[in-house]
């Protein structure tokens, strides 16, 4: 039985049965076993019900990612504009043409209609903006580089956009400890360049580096290509300066590697997607720039062999391994078709990008060559090439980093960022292909296989509600069955806020709601994002 069809017929009935029971009743919480591996029809119905704003419009069981109706925030008046213009002369943007690009996300899938874009330069200005907006009950959408993929970085309605684009100063850098402090609007690539001149690197790297802001990276707990080696931002961020919803400045910008004095508040803000506070400055621990970087691009004939290559890699390359990424043959053909990139090796079902980074070129090359000899002679790998020099390394990396770009040329992309047990990763891609059949134009898989993180992308020439209904909730149920995460690193934003229950138990979500209510009682910070609609 196709569960979507079943649910749509019994939906209305269940609606009527549960509509009168208050959501916070313990009766429902105990009935609902969201966290079990087997979802029953009752569970599913409850999850679907939670996905609906019970006033009607907006998110529905068929489309939990759509926006809910506008909450009763104030609307911007001439007096408000006068205040902003006095506070930020020349940096209060109201021109609709200039606002357009900040109202639309990078994927061009969600669009808001904000009428005001503010560009503060200092923490003090951010504080005054939020204090004012809190008093006036004006909603605010913090925005960094606007490269987010879940619709979390653009307004849904007329929220005021608070941009960090002019907060791009590096504050300090200590080249003994490697600790960098900077404002939240620094572009990641600029920070990388700054550090490289001083023989250090940023602990994270992602395809969006030319545009994303470090504040945004921290707010989404961005993962990226180097997580395998340097860990997540939760470990490398040492301190934050945050402005709270009522304008209070929380200065926890410590530059200490170790500090166990009280609760670690910064962890609340990391990954909170701008809903608990606006990050205005970051202090981050940076690793030394490796003296020797090598990249190998390999081809494997099966996913099983790819996994065995990974095990061999871990064993033989050990501490010099800094990235292990994969892409499938469908990704390669899109790169060739739309971006005219050439496949450096023979066609294979799977491709791996391996990066090593170390302090001694001879030592690293020896290890790498031994590893490559081993995987070639044992036929785990069918073909491959190596790069030791900067332009070639960049060329090989672009085969992985530009897949997202290539997909945008195929029409509308449905993106899923899933964490799974590593051996199950490609099963999801294959099951999805079988499940969708002809409905989808492309079903591709790529990502940080070393971290157990799959980027599953499905394209169709244009937005297709029937396709969406076939994909969701199938993909989330599949993920939930294997106790995976429905959003490994992209966050929940607007699009995935209502799916949180597939990966977190209701008690946890309820506690998140309490924390939100405590830090932002009026709910002005990035409303309609991250937390599910029924939390209100």
């Amino acid at each position: 039985i196709n569960l979507c069809h079943l649910l749509s017929t019994i939906d209305m009935g269940i609606f009527q049965r549960f509509a009168r029971i208050p959501l916070k009743s313990t009766y429902i919480w105990s009935l609902c076993r969201q966290y079990s591996t087997d979802l029953t029809a009752v569970d599913r119905a409850l999850i679907q019900h939670r996905c609906v704003h019970n006033r009607g419009l907006g998110a529905s069981p068929g489309n939990p990612g759509a926006a809910p109706p506008r909450l009763p925030f104030s609307r911007v008046t001439q007096e408000d504009l006068a205040f902003f213009r006095t506070l930020l002369p020349g940096r209060t943007i109201t021109d609709p043409d200039l606002l357009k690009s900040s109202n639309v996300d990078w994927l061009k899938t969600v669009e808001g209609n904000s009428e005001v874009l503010l560009r503060p330069k200092t923490t003090e200005e951010v504080s005054q903006i939020l204090r004012y907006c809190n008093e006036r009950n004006l909603a605010v959408c913090p925005q960094g580089g606007n490269t987010g993929l879940v619709g979390g970085s653009v307004p849904v309605f007329d929220e005021i956009i608070l941009s960090t684009s002019l907060m791009k100063q590096v504050i300090t850098f200590d080249n003994i400890s490697g600790i960098l402090t900077c404002q939240a609007g620094c572009v990641l690539e600029n920070l990388s360049n700054y550090l490289e001149e001083r023989d250090f690197i940023m602990p994270l790297d992602l395809g969006a580096k030319g545009s994303c802001h470090i504040g945004g990276n921290v707010s989404t707990n961005a993962g990226g290509l180097r997580l395998l080696r340097y860990g997540s931002l939760r470990g490398t961020v040492l301190g934050l300066e945050v402005v709270l919803a009522d304008g209070r400045i929380l200065n926890c910008l410590a530059t200490l590697r170790k500090d166990n004095t009280g609760y670690d508040l910064k962890q609340l803000f990391i990954g909170s997607e701008g809903t608990l506070g606006v990050i205005t400055a970051v202090s981050i621990l940076c690793p030394r720039k490796p003296k020797a970087v090598n990249v190998a691009f390999l081809g494997c004939s099966s996913f099983q062999q790819l996994l065995e290559t990974f095990q061999c890699c871990r064993g033989m390359l050990g501490e010099i391994l800094s990235a292990f990424e994969f892409l499938d043959a469908s990704c390669m053909s899109l790169l060739e078709k739309h971006l005219k990139l050439t496949n450096p090796i023979t066609e294979s079902p799977f491709y791996i990008v391996i990066e090593t980074a170390g302090s001694n070129a001879t030592h690293d090359e020896e290890k790498l060559h031994k590893f490559l000899e081993e995987v070639m002679t044992s036929s785990l790998v069918t073909d491959g090439t190596v790069a030791t020099e900067a332009t070639k390394i960049k060329a090989l990396w672009s085969l992985r980093e530009r897949v997202t770009e290539a997909l945008t040329h195929e029409g509308y992309t449905y993106k899923y960022d899933i964490s799974l047990p590593v051996e199950k990763i490609y099963d999801l891609v294959q099951d999805m292909r079988g499940h969708l059949g002809d409905m989808a134009k492309n079903v591709v898989g790529y990502g940080h296989v070393g971290d157990g993180n799959l980027h599953l992308n499905i394209t169709s020439p244009s937005k297709d509600p029937a396709l969406l209904a076939a994909i969701e909730p199938y993909v989330y149920e599949w993920t939930s069955k294997w106790k995976g995460s429905i959003s490994a690193e992209h966050g929940l934003g607007l699009k995935k806020r209502n799916y949180i229950y597939y990966s977190k138990p209701s008690e946890a979500v309820a506690l998140m709601g309490s924390i939100k209510a405590m830090l932002d009682p009026k709910g002005i910070l990035n409303p309609y994002k991250t937390l599910p609609d029924n939390i209100h």
Partner: protein, 248 residues
């Protein structure tokens, strides 16, 4: 053949404190991009069965062997490493290199010498032309297309005015320009095979070449620092500033 292996421009090139040159210590060295194109063209000719053997040559210190191995992995048959190191390497220029290539060409009885049009560290664009002159061979420089027609070579050259097509007799010297081809990646199976190919070591003296330089570098300076620009708020301010600067 291809030009001496040399250093790839890193993001920050620094002038040595004594201003006699640039810092090369710790800088990643690799094959000159135009020479890669030359190797690719040579390998292509061999794959078309138009040439019998491709010999890769490079002049420089020990590290040069790595570059020769890359050429072998791309498809060259054997390598010759002309060992020049230390002070001699620092002063090695196009004239000495072309003398070395001319001597080797005679020794090996080569029919065709292909090299990159210029090295991207010194941008001299002299080695190919000097080699042809020393051997009294015809030259097809800035080649964007090379076709073998019986015992002659048809070369399409990139020149300022457009494209010039010439026919030259073999033996000849050809220098490769950007659009000649796209060099292949050296793939692992070929990298493994290349380990078994031979690289022979020779010294310039063995070829009867004196590598001492007749040039003396007086000084090397960084380009003048670019002054930061000024942002103005209105068109009126812009006009005022341009007047101030005496530009209008």
């Amino acid at each position: 053949c291809f030009a001496p292996f040399l250093c790839l421009r890193p993001p920050q090139i620094r002038v040595k404190p004594d201003r006699t040159g640039v810092v090369t210590d710790g800088v990643k060295h690799s094959m000159n991009p135009f020479c890669e194109i030359a190797v690719e063209e040579a390998v292509k000719l061999k794959e078309k069965k138009l040439v019998k053997e491709v010999v890769a040559v490079s002049c420089g210190p020990q590290q040069v062997q790595e570059t020769i191995r890359t050429a072998l992995a791309m498809g060259a048959d054997r390598g010759i490493h002309v060992e020049v190191s230390g002070k001699d390497y620092e002063t090695l220029g196009p004239l000495q290199v072309s003398k070395i290539f001319a001597a080797l060409a005679k020794k090996e009885q080569a029919d065709l010498i292909i090299l990159g049009k210029q090295a991207i560290d010194d941008d001299c664009n002299q080695t190919g032309q000097m080699t042809a002159a020393l051997l009294d061979w015809p030259q097809g420089t800035f080649a964007s297309e090379v076709t073998l027609e019986a015992d002659k070579l048809k070369v399409v050259r990139e020149i300022d005015g457009g494209l010039e097509t010439i026919k030259i007799k073999l033996p000849a010297v050809v220098t490769a320009d950007l659009r000649l081809n796209t060099p292949r990646y050296a793939t692992l199976p070929n990298i493994m095979k290349a380990k078994k190919k031979k690289i022979v070591n020779v010294k310039p003296a063995d070829l009867g070449v004196d590598v001492s330089s007749r040039l003396e570098v007086l000084k090397v300076d960084e380009p003048p620092q670019r002054q930061s620009g000024v942002k103005v708020e209105t068109v009126h301010d812009l006009v005022e500033k341009l007047k101030e600067a005496g530009r209008i």
